[in-house]
């Protein structure tokens, strides 16, 4: 089965700094999604990057996808305290059923 997993369990930065969260997966994918989950809330999609794309941006967020190494990264520039959350990568499985496989998540703490 496909798995999406982040490489770091937890990261801590200070406001204004940049940070990168990494994700690796084990089988071919059609797309990879980055989600953010704040405490007590459901996940919210940040970026969807398709397998034929190498980079996607959304404001201060930048996602990359390297299908040869089966890895993706999410970079956040000029971090803010409100970026504190758990960041997941997720992949839809093949077969187009909509089922998402989530990684374990990386907890990001942005300190003032």
């Amino acid at each position: 089965s496909q798995l999406a997993e982040e490489n770091s369990w937890a990261l801590s930065v200070h406001e204004g700094e940049s940070v990168t969260v990494n994700c690796s997966y084990k089988t071919s994918i059609t797309a990879l999604q980055w989600y953010r989950q704040k405490s007590g809330k459901g996940p919210a999609q940040l970026i969807l990057i398709r397998s034929n794309e190498r980079e996607k941006r959304n404001g201060r967020l930048r996602a990359t996808l390297d299908t040869s190494s089966q890895s993706s990264s999410l970079s956040i520039t000029a971090t803010r305290c409100e970026d504190t959350a758990v960041y997941f990568c997720a992949t839809p499985i093949t077969g187009n059923t909509g089922k998402l496989i989530f990684g374990l998540g990386t907890t990001l703490q942005v300190q003032p």
Binding site: G40, G42, A44, R50, N96, G98
Partner: protein, 114 residues
């Protein structure tokens, strides 16, 4: 943006009782999902639902679980009877289509089975 609502936010019940978790998906969405998240663990897919039918269910979707969306109202997850291992946060999600389209998640229902 579009919102998915879940009722209740918390539910505490005794083992063996029945519980129904309610989800109000985004109004024009066609696909509905339930995911289960145990504290500190991965979000795991339970089931998805389209056009009145279950499309796919995981091994976590035990025989005691059922889903329905009667007359286009709430999308519900029913557990009867509940077991201790059912304690978790259950997230509902909906999407307009498939193919990697964004799934919008609700805030979750925290279920505690005593």
């Amino acid at each position: 943006g579009p919102k998915v609502l879940q009722i209740p936010s918390h539910q505490i019940i005794d083992m063996g009782q029945m519980v129904t978790l309610n989800c109000d998906p985004v109004s024009n969405h066609l696909y509905f999902y339930w995911y289960k998240q145990i504290l500190g663990q991965q979000m795991e897919f339970l089931v998805n639902f389209y056009n009145g039918k279950v499309m796919e269910k995981s091994k976590l979707f035990k025989d005691q679980f059922s889903v329905e969306r009667p007359d286009g109202s709430y999308f519900t997850l029913k557990i009867q009877p509940t077991a201790l291992e059912d304690s978790a946060v259950y997230f509902c999600a909906s999407s307009f289509g498939l193919g990697g389209q964004e799934q919008y998640f609700g805030p979750g229902t925290r279920l505690t089975v005593l």
